[in-house]
Amino acid sequence: MEPSLEVRDVRKTYRGVVAVDGLSFTVRPGEVTGFVGPNGAGKSTTMRLLLGLDAPDHGEALVDGSRYGTLDRPLTRVGALLDADAVHPSRRARDHLLWMARSNGIADRRADEVLDQVGLAAVAHKRAGGFSLGMRQRLGIAAALLGDPPVLMFDEPTNGLDPDGIVWIRLLLRALASQGRVVLVSSHLMGELQDTADRLVVIGRGRLVAETAVPDLLASVSRDQVEVVTPQRSEAMTVLANAGATVTVQAADGIVVEGLPGSEIASLLGAAGVTFVELRRHRASLEEAYMELTRGAVEFATADEDAR
């Protein structure tokens, strides 16, 4: 059976506060799926529901089609980094991995292997209380990899990592996905996922905002926009605005034009004697795409409330 993570119409409230509200999505193997939304959108809650730590009020959260609680030796099916601080400060790093390994009949040597893999071999016998946030994050990732599981879940894995660490985890996520695993990685920073994620599950206020492939999302936001680099910015803006385009300033010598095709922009500027250095299709950043999406979600939510 193909490994998968699946959330079906899940609803979860904590003391009357809705954390997740009718959420459904599926995560497929072989891709890095980014799980994004603002702080408090319900990302961590969804992961806790998938791991059987919390019980949904309604709906199902399934791993490989089963509830987590029914899995045998679950660490060999799913690996998860939820909270890097969930380590006893008095326990040595290796011991933290040993008890987890033994709970699932995983060989002790795996503890040493994953410590090596995350770059903590040198501090294996140090107590976790002395670790920096970045080191605890790596230890949490080591724990997730312990059972060599086909499904992996990481909640904000780059928290506290230095730039080297961030590059390392990107490569790790890509490598895990290319091995055909299910990889779900949450973040509240879109930019972080720009070069890592293949697909995105975007949530806001506990609801699904979008479930889409990253290239499609970028294309939908970048539609019809052209970037113009020119030393004569204000002249160019006047000419193009008069021709009916929407023009926004992007940088000291750059503008983004919407509403006119590139060829027409070139001839208009040429006719007006405005020089330009560059003319190219605008590629939106994931950050912009995200803002666009969540703006929609907020508007939708407001309209929804007005309708009551």
């Binding site: 904590y14 806790r48 791991l51 059987g52 730590l53 919390d54 019980a55 987590y68 609680g69 899995l71 030796r73 679950p74 660490l75 998860a80 939820l82 909270d83 601080d85 969930a86 380590v87 006893h88 400060p89 008095s90 326990r91 040595r92 011991d95 933290h96 040993l98 008890w99 987890m100 033994r102 709970s103 699932n104 009949g105 724990a143």
Partner: protein, 261 residues
Amino acid sequence: MTGALRAEWTKARSLPSTGWLVCVVALGMVALGLAVTGTLRVDECGDDPCVLDTVRLSLAGVNVAQVGAAVLGVLLVTGEYATGTIRPTLVSVPRRGEVLAAKVAVVGVLTAGGAALGVGGALLVARAVLPSRGFTAEAGYPDSTLLHDLTQRAAVGTVLYLVLVALLGVGIGLLVQDTGGAVTLMMAVLFLGPVLALFVSDPDWQAWLHRYAPTDAGLAVQATRDLAALHIAPWPGLGLVAGYAAAVVLAGGVVLCRRDA
């Protein structure tokens, strides 16, 4: 289940506090026992004939040891909530009943080990010290030996009592979750009864406290003399504590299984 057991055993062993608390149980038994037996004098006994229960006095260290046992039981649970390791624990072993059973087994074995060492040590020390304090066979005090039925009952009973106290700690830890709160409640459970009994003047209330308070009821099993004066018989007293422990552990288990982690 073996996985859960191995995990809990590894967890307990990899924390320095575990070793210290087992030492408190063992050394508390021996040290306080020595302090009591080493200062006893047969001619200061008062009554005639003198009926000091030397076995029970030798095992007086249980008053210190039970604190170690209680804190051991509490910490192996509340430590998980305080540090957040309860989540990796339940992710590793999602069947929560197994987690509870494994914790009970590990706490039980650790406490029984420390208690057996402590009880054995305290009896040996008493055997070495008491004759020099005048408690000889001629004075009516044969050596405390485990071959003696009542001494045997006191020794085994003390070990079992300490195990039950540690398990009460596990249950209260699950119910309260917070280390400070759970330890405080545990101390109240152990010491409130005996302390209240000191201050309550009504003899009926006093008898009731001695009969039902966990410490008094559970330690009736240590008596080897003057058994008629006990407020509750030795084994039923220990049985009552076992009932308390079972009820609290079960309640803790229900909460563990029902609650979001």
